[in-house]
Symmetry: C2
DNA sequence: ACTATCCGTGAAAGCGTTTTCTTGAAGTCC
DNA sequence: GGACTTCAAGAAAACGCTTTCACGGATAGT
């Protein structure tokens, strides 16, 4: 039972120990710790020596409690595991670290509901980064009312709310895809493998696809919009469905790279040559896209994360800095669309 | 100018507010919060209602300070961005979450040295997960002396120290590769694209390669060991070097999948057919390996992370549970080795 | 009935910092 | 040169919770 391992407590060195060793008050030690006021150089030296000798490390909990800030940023994502998060996480982690903040990550996919959001809420973090689908409208409204600092990543604030957010140019990205497919490869029946309906990006990409068709004078055929959920398996079966129903198409624009790979798989099974017979394009330019020669739209995911952190920190520091940003995207032609 | 945005404080609801609304003492509220004692059902209900109505969320800092445990686990990794960490992180995150712990992630690659490890040390986390190269010997020794709970992932404790660790079977994994290459594809001059010298896994994989050669009666040629660092670019230039120097080889065993992809790239440039002319095998079975038809050795990375967390938590809870574990690996043949 | 045991609950003592608030000494000004 | 600032540094009051202790009221034992 957990009755042992409690005597560890003895070894805990606190600010009091440092103070008495250095023969100063704890206030002065605290001042050194935070650089919050001028301290006599001699005492400073004694204190620094004491800290070193004792191996003192201030307890974050106590600092947070007394100082009413945790120096911690919370990140809410649906699934930490996804390839998509890797670059974003890197951006976030780096920026947070640079600013001297810790990062507390929480996934919402599992039983995140009830008491789950607790820890990320008030005062357990100084601010929150909400990623796309993790930005539950209720949560957003609640945080907003409370005036708790947070920023939205890869999704836009509910209509009417002025909340900082960082997104990418989805519409123009997918428009670029459609134009390229039509202009460079003469494709005219382009399937749009969409994403989850609730997803902001998926919706925007579909809109961009539609808008591009119209501006190119091509007809929009609802029959060419295939359901997807940003995953390869579902994408594959969606494409298989089209093939089975003998729907004619000469290109597939998937709303994300994962789905694109699924489509490629399904086409391959059917003996259809990707690139030559049917162009396939994804979105996001995930790490594997280059390996797989997948044409796609590159989004500066890492930069999105980093910028989100920057905005958040400025908010936490009391700034208004509502600099919502939309990062540009660029089309990256590769073999899967017929290029090269 | 951070003088505004400070009046937010007013809205903070504490345990005191809950207690007075429910007309009980804060002790009783605390008991409900922690389920630490029986409470009259009627009061319980009043308290729960109050918590709900007030939207009360206990402050982690206060709990940590008073309860002397943070319910937070620290993870030290060199680079959060790497593909390799995705599955491990998923495992860790899931297990931590399941046990009701938060996850604090810190990268060591940048200026992690000095004051950086502070926050992860004593009492800012209840325990630490150290990943491979992040497990600085000094740090390990220090933590060990202090009796601070921690476990090693993907690396073994320094000689003589009895520290819980979770690793995978590297030797047998690479041995399986060599055997397969020799037996199934008749390869006899197998290049070993090694990893960073300081890396435990890289060393073990190289050992396994050597041991396998010997046990198969094949000569070990130091000239076939090419330097690498677990990255594609370095791997590619390493292979180019071999080609330029006209070193003869009919297979490449890369100590990790990233390097394997680099090798494949370099071979491709030289017009050498991967699989047919030269077999290429990686290690880890990262997400992209399947897409790229890369033969590799699958390591249960996710499980390693999850198990690490489990051990750590048992340590935190005062258990001895020094169940160091070595997970098995399995060879996965794919087109790049000549199979299919 | 009368004491001995139990147990739910409240009071209060921390937990380790940061942050006023004070204080006394040094420095400034006419 | 005496009264007024200035300022480094200590004392003490939060910060919001957990936990120990003590107190009655209720239950049980004889």
């Amino acid at each position: 039972m957990g009755r042992k391992a409690r005597e560890r407590k003895a070894g805990q060195v606190t600010i009091v120990d440092v103070a008495s060793l250095a023969e100063v008050s704890i206030s002065t030690v605290s001042r050194i710790l935070n650089g919050s006021a001028y301290v006599d150089p001699e005492k400073r030296e004694r204190i620094e020596a004491a800290i070193r000798d004792l191996g003192f490390a201030p307890k974050a909990a106590a600092r947070a409690l007394a100082g009413r800030r945790t120096k911690t940023l919370g990140l809410l994502v649906p699934e930490i595991s996804d390839d998509f998060f890797v670059p974003m996480l890197r951006g976030i982690e780096g920026a947070a670290r640079l600013a001297g903040y810790e990062l507390l990550i929480k996934t919402t996919s599992y039983g995140g509901g009830g008491r789950g959001n607790w820890a990320l809420g008030e005062h357990n973090t100084d601010g929150l980064l909400l990623f796309a689908d993790s930005a539950d409208p209720e949560l957003v409204a609640d945080l907003s009312v409370r005036g708790f600092p947070f920023v939205l990543l890869y999704t836009e604030p509910p209509a009417g709310m002025r909340i900082p957010s960082v997104t990418v140019e989805n519409e123009s990205g997918s428009a670029a895809v459609v134009s390229h497919l039509a202009a460079a490869h003469g494709r005219s029946r382009i399937v749009c493998l969409s994403g989850p309906e609730s997803n902001h990006d998926a919706a925007a990409r579909l809109r961009g696809y539609r808008a591009a068709l119209e501006s190119l004078g091509m007809a929009f055929d609802p029959g060419l919009v295939a359901p997807g959920d940003f995953s390869a398996p579902v994408a594959a079966s969606s494409i298989r469905g089209l093939l089975r129903r003998k729907v004619a198409f000469d290109a597939v624009f998937a709303c994300d790279d994962g789905a694109a790979m699924g489509a490629i798989g399904a086409l391959g099974e059917a003996g259809i040559r990707v690139g030559a017979d049917v162009s396939v394009v994804g979105f996001d330019d995930l790490a594997f896209a280059a390996h797989s020669s997948l044409a796609t739209v590159r989004a500066p995911t890492e930069e999105v994360g980093a910028h989100g952190v920057r905005i958040l920190i400025s908010l936490v520091d009391g700034g208004e800095g509502l600099e919502s940003l939309v990062f540009p995207t660029v089309f990256v032609p590769r073999r899967s669309c017929g290029c090269e």
